[in-house]
């Protein structure tokens, strides 16, 4: 059986909107019928715009929220029914929540977690040595958590989530607030644990570099629906059909008028011309431009994941209308 198995998963929240007498009950379908499975040993990126339902899904997978419908199994357990058994096998980190003890030195928080998770002393020491080296915790292990910088604290939080050697890690925006170097360190640690121990990771992030570097597979969620499930390359092919030809003209010109393409930006003599793969190609476009104005130089930009995701978010890959209904 797959390590994570999700079928037709749903979560509705009843919220009260408005004020005074005009308050009404509104049902928000945060997760609206999602199905996927994750095999052991993969790193999966879970992306989608704000409010898409990413955190809500993670909360149902980790036993925090009881689903409104559908089925979930993680590591063979039903999260909402076998919460404590599951908890011993998973690691969870929410980039915005503090799980360390605020006024204790980092090392003491780890020590308490060791007892909470019942990790044998020897294993704990080995794991802490490994994690501490990978995330360079040494300099602030004895500092009270409240005195740590955000980046230091997040490295501590990640360590806390991994000390008991979970089979699967759920990371909800783990690199929020980290500098470039720390981000890189976190990524390396995850890749290494994945390689050496077969650690499975489900990661939500708005940082697409995280996704690009780490994830072999991507799930895209929008308005509670899964709109894409597959590899990064296919994602780019499917949604990233628009490429950009950057041309340097001999002198500044008003936006060129070329068939099957449009100018998206002008900066002095430089113009950015976006085109669809199906409608024209770079060779034909170059010839057209050269016929209109003398050319000095040109480059071709392939779509990057940011463009792809921006496009999916903006268009909302399915034509999803009204997910809320008044009850």
């Amino acid at each position: 059986m797959a390590l994570v198995d999700v079928q037709d998963l749903r979560k509705e929240f009843v919220v009260r909107r408005g004020s005074g007498l005009r308050r009404e009950r509104v049902v928000v379908r945060a997760v609206d019928g999602i199905t996927f499975a994750i095999e052991s040993g993969s790193i999966v990126g879970y992306i989608g715009p704000n409010g898409a339902g990413k955190s809500t899904t993670v909360k149902m997978l980790t036993g925090i929220l009881v689903p409104s419908g559908g089925r979930v199994s993680v590591a063979g357990f039903v999260p909402s029914k076998q919460r404590t058994k599951l908890a011993a096998r998973i690691g969870v980190m929410f980039g915005q929540r503090v799980q360390l003890w605020w006024d204790l030195p980092l090392i003491e928080s780890f020590e308490l977690l060791r007892h909470i998770y019942r990790v044998p002393a020897e294993r704990f020491r080995q794991n802490l040595d490994m994690l501490g080296a990978a995330l360079e915790l040494g300099p602030f292990l004895r500092t009270p958590v409240r005195q740590l910088s955000l980046g230091q604290r997040i490295r501590g939080e990640l360590t806390a989530a991994m000390l008991h050697e979970p089979d699967i890690l759920f990371l909800d925006e783990p690199t929020i607030g980290l500098d470039v170097v720390a981000r890189q360190r976190v990524r390396e640690l995850l890749l290494r644990a994945n390689r050496e121990r077969g650690l499975t990771v489900l990661l939500t992030s708005h940082d697409l570099v995280d996704i690009e570097r780490l994830c072999s597979r991507i799930l895209v969620i929008d308005h509670g629906h899964l709109v894409y499930d597959g590899g990064l390359e296919t994602l780019k092919e499917r949604y990233g059909t628009e490429r950009v030809l950057v041309v340097d003209l001999e002198e500044p010109r008003p936006p060129l008028d070329v068939e099957g393409a449009r100018v998206i930006k002008v900066d002095g003599p430089r113009q950015w011309i976006a085109f669809e793969r199906e409608r024209t190609n770079a060779a034909r476009l170059t010839a057209q431009v050269a016929a209109l104005a003398p050319l000095r130089d040109l480059t071709l930009q392939e779509p990057d994941i940011e463009d792809v995701v921006r496009r999916i978010y903006a268009e909302g890959a399915t034509g999803s209308a009204g997910r809320s209904s008044t009850a």
Binding site: L65, T84, F94, I116
Partner: protein
């Protein structure tokens, strides 16, 4: 079987960690403990003032009232010491930090109460013990084994009754606290809890409900038995020794309510 013992060990370990953290602020900690100790004498002083004018009250002497007071106050202050942090449950729920307790392999109630340990509450325990000492020293009671046993059993039973009522009552926040009204807004990177004032469940109302009503089982009935007094209401004698059983039943019920309530937890956006 080692399970409860291991949990007790963890309770002590977590509490010790909290005490260490509080000792960082040594002076304020000492002042608060002494303050708590002194303030709690005011309760008892009020009783003494009454007895300065009348030798007996409803057929009870000052030593007998002291016993009644000491038993219920000791039970209550032990409960307050052990699970007082339950007061912060509404806040944990509102800001969604209850999430973190659910992903750890331990009971949620256990984790809520071990999040903090206010050692200054020992001041009240100490005061109750002193009043108990005064009562035992001045009472004119023949200490038969059954009376001794009931006195010893009554205190933990009373603490358990208070704790059960407290837990059951506070569970309402799982229904009334609307996850996070701000969850409708964009949740990315938001830390909404800073906007909420710390809303401690009204301590006085809670005390009244959780303190007065069960005091009958916690202290009054056992005192009737220990002091060999006739029950003015003429209730059966077995009621007077039933507090340990009542405590067990209350604890089971509270546990059940808690489990049901946790399944209604809605978390907060994020």
């Amino acid at each position: 079987m080692g399970e409860p013992l291991e949990s007790a060990g963890l309770f002590l370990r977590l509490s010790a960690a909290r005490i260490r953290a509080q000792l960082q602020y040594r002076t304020s900690f000492a002042l608060q403990t002494v303050g708590m100790f002194l303030i709690s004498f005011l309760d008892f002083a009020a009783i003494l003032v009454i007895f300065a004018n009348v030798p007996q009250l409803g057929g009870w002497s000052v030593s007998e009232v002291a016993l009644l007071y000491a038993i219920s106050s000791l039970a209550f202050s032990l409960t307050d010491l052990a699970i007082g942090h339950l007061d912060y449950l509404p806040q944990l729920i509102r800001d969604g930090s209850f999430d973190l307790l659910l992903v750890r392999p331990r009971g949620t109630l256990f984790q809520v109460v071990t999040q903090d340990f206010q050692i200054r509450r020992i001041g009240k325990v100490a005061q109750s013990l002193m009043v108990l000492g005064y009562a035992l020293a001045t009472l004119d009671v023949i200490w038969t084994p059954d009376r001794v046993a009931l006195l010893i059993a009554t205190i933990p039973a009373g603490a358990l009754i208070f704790a059960s009522i407290w837990v059951a009552a506070i569970c309402i926040v799982f229904w009334t606290t609307e996850g996070n009204e701000a969850a409708n807004a964009v949740t990315y990177g938001g830390t909404f809890f800073a906007q909420y004032p710390i809303n401690i469940y009204d301590r006085w109302l809670r005390r009244f409900l959780a303190y007065l009503i069960p005091t009958a089982f916690v202290a009054y009935f056992p005192c009737l038995y220990i002091l060999g007094k006739a029950d003015p209401l003429g209730l059966p004698v077995w009621l007077q020794v039933s507090s340990p059983l009542v405590a067990l039943a209350a604890a089971l019920a509270a546990g059940l309510i808690w489990r049901t309530a946790v399944r209604h937890y809605q978390s907060a956006g994020g």
